[in-house]
């Protein structure tokens, strides 16, 4: 059976979540392999969420929120951007596959961009294959059931 990637998307409620909604209301079809987790702001996305996504069996993670200067809380996304700069460096240094972590700005008006992003991510991760390397660390009793 062909591998279907599991993608977790951590999105802010004000821009990307609304943008993803627009994708739907615009009747744009896109890859169904994405599971959206809505948070108040990208500034709310602790770096631990990314690790938790991989723990839960994700093969790829999308982190997306408002463009700079668009943040509902003025600067949450700018704080988040700094955190990502630093955390990406750390992930990269310890050998976590950063090709599986995607950062984006998707506004509430960018329904088409969201569809394009998810399609791109699914295609990229499908090429990379399941993230067995990370999952193999998790002891059997704690391993999530990754249903097909």
């Amino acid at each position: 059976m062909e591998f279907e990637p599991k993608i977790i998307a951590l999105v802010c409620t004000w821009c990307t979540y609304a943008g993803a909604d627009l994708t739907g209301t615009s009747r744009i079809k896109y890859a169904p392999q994405v599971r959206v987790v809505r948070v108040p702001c990208t500034g709310r996305i602790d770096f631990m969420y990314l690790l938790q996504a991989f723990n839960q069996g994700a093969d790829g993670v999308i982190v997306s929120g408002c463009h700079p200067a668009d943040c509902h809380y003025t600067s949450g996304n700018l704080h988040a951007r700094r955190r990502w700069i630093v955390f990406r460096k750390l992930m990269d240094f310890v050998g976590i596959d950063t090709r599986r972590v995607f950062f984006a700005w998707v506004s509430a008006a960018e329904g088409a961009k969201w569809a394009q992003l998810v399609n791109d991510v699914v295609a990229t991760v499908r090429q990379l294959g399941p993230y067995e390397e990370y999952r193999s660390l998790i002891p059997a009793h704690a391993r999530p059931e990754v249903a097909a």
Partner: protein, 266 residues
């Protein structure tokens, strides 16, 4: 050393401080931390090449605070730790006197501005050896980096000595002890150990003052300081700030610059 003992004595006699935190002879030719509370005990203090432990881990401990104002025998790294603790509002002006032995004699630093001046002057940045160690890992292919660090993390026994030794790890409740929700798996398997080390490095990002006490404390010899090194240099190059050189600097990750890079964001 005589200067140090004399100064410790006079600080205690005058009542300026109630305790001098320094080093004394321990067992097997090693030194150990000493908490000198009486002028007559000051003669036990020593300072030489063996005195590398960062004693700035002690002034925040409730049982040490209880003793009163402290003087701290400090290495340059411990001095930076004191400044960083001040920047994080953990130490007040005048609460700690720094006794800094230098080749030119003992320096007594009473105010944060004196400490800042000294820290900035003595700061040298990472050594070429350290840079090449990091470079050696960073230039490996990704899979080899993963292998390397999994090999290191799998030896971790989760004793948290790296946390206990760190002057900046002062949270009264650490995220590893939080179990609702359980963020970090407790058992010392490869998975939980990796998460612990990533969390430790991230929580010290922009705060680590490069004393390497974590690596020295590690009983199994994991080079945990290299994780801190990478983030410290990244923050210095991206945001232009270094922890431990100012008593008033803001935390690099609680601020931002509109020009921060975003070439990795779609």
């Amino acid at each position: 050393m005589t200067g140090l003992r004399e100064r410790a004595k006079s600080l205690l006699e005058s009542g300026r401080v109630q305790v001098v935190i320094g080093y004394e002879e321990g067992s097997a030719g090693r030194v150990r931390p000493a908490f000198v509370r009486h002028p007559t005990q000051a003669d036990t203090l020593v300072f030489d090449d063996r005195c590398v432990q960062n004693l700035a881990v002690y002034p925040l401990k409730p049982e040490v605070r209880e003793l009163g104002t402290a003087a701290l025998v400090a290495t340059p790294a411990a001095l930076r730790a004191v400044l960083q603790l001040a920047a994080e509002h953990q130490l007040r002006e005048g609460e700690v006197v720094v006794l800094l032995p230098t080749p030119g004699g003992l320096k007594v630093l009473e105010s944060f501005s004196q400490m800042e001046e000294e820290a900035k002057m003595s700061f040298q940045g990472p050594s070429p050896e350290e840079k090449s160690r990091v470079e050696g890992i960073a230039t490996l292919p990704r899979e080899a980096r993963w292998e390397y660090w999994q090999g290191q993390f799998s030896r971790c026994i989760k004793c948290y000595a790296c946390r206990a030794a760190c002057p900046l790890c002062y949270c009264s409740q650490c995220i590893v002890e939080v179990n609702q929700p359980q963020w970090i798996p407790v058992l010392p398997h490869a998975w939980g150990s990796m998460e612990w080390h990533l969390v430790r490095a991230m929580h010290l990002a922009g705060r680590c003052v490069d004393c390497k006490e974590c690596a020295r404390a590690c009983p199994v010899g994991i080079p945990v300081d290299l994780l801190n090194h990478v983030l410290r240099e990244e923050i210095a190059s991206q945001f232009g700030t270094r922890a431990g050189l100012s008593a008033t600097a803001s935390y690099a990750l609680s601020t931002f610059d509109r020009r921060d890079r975003e070439d990795f964001i779609r």
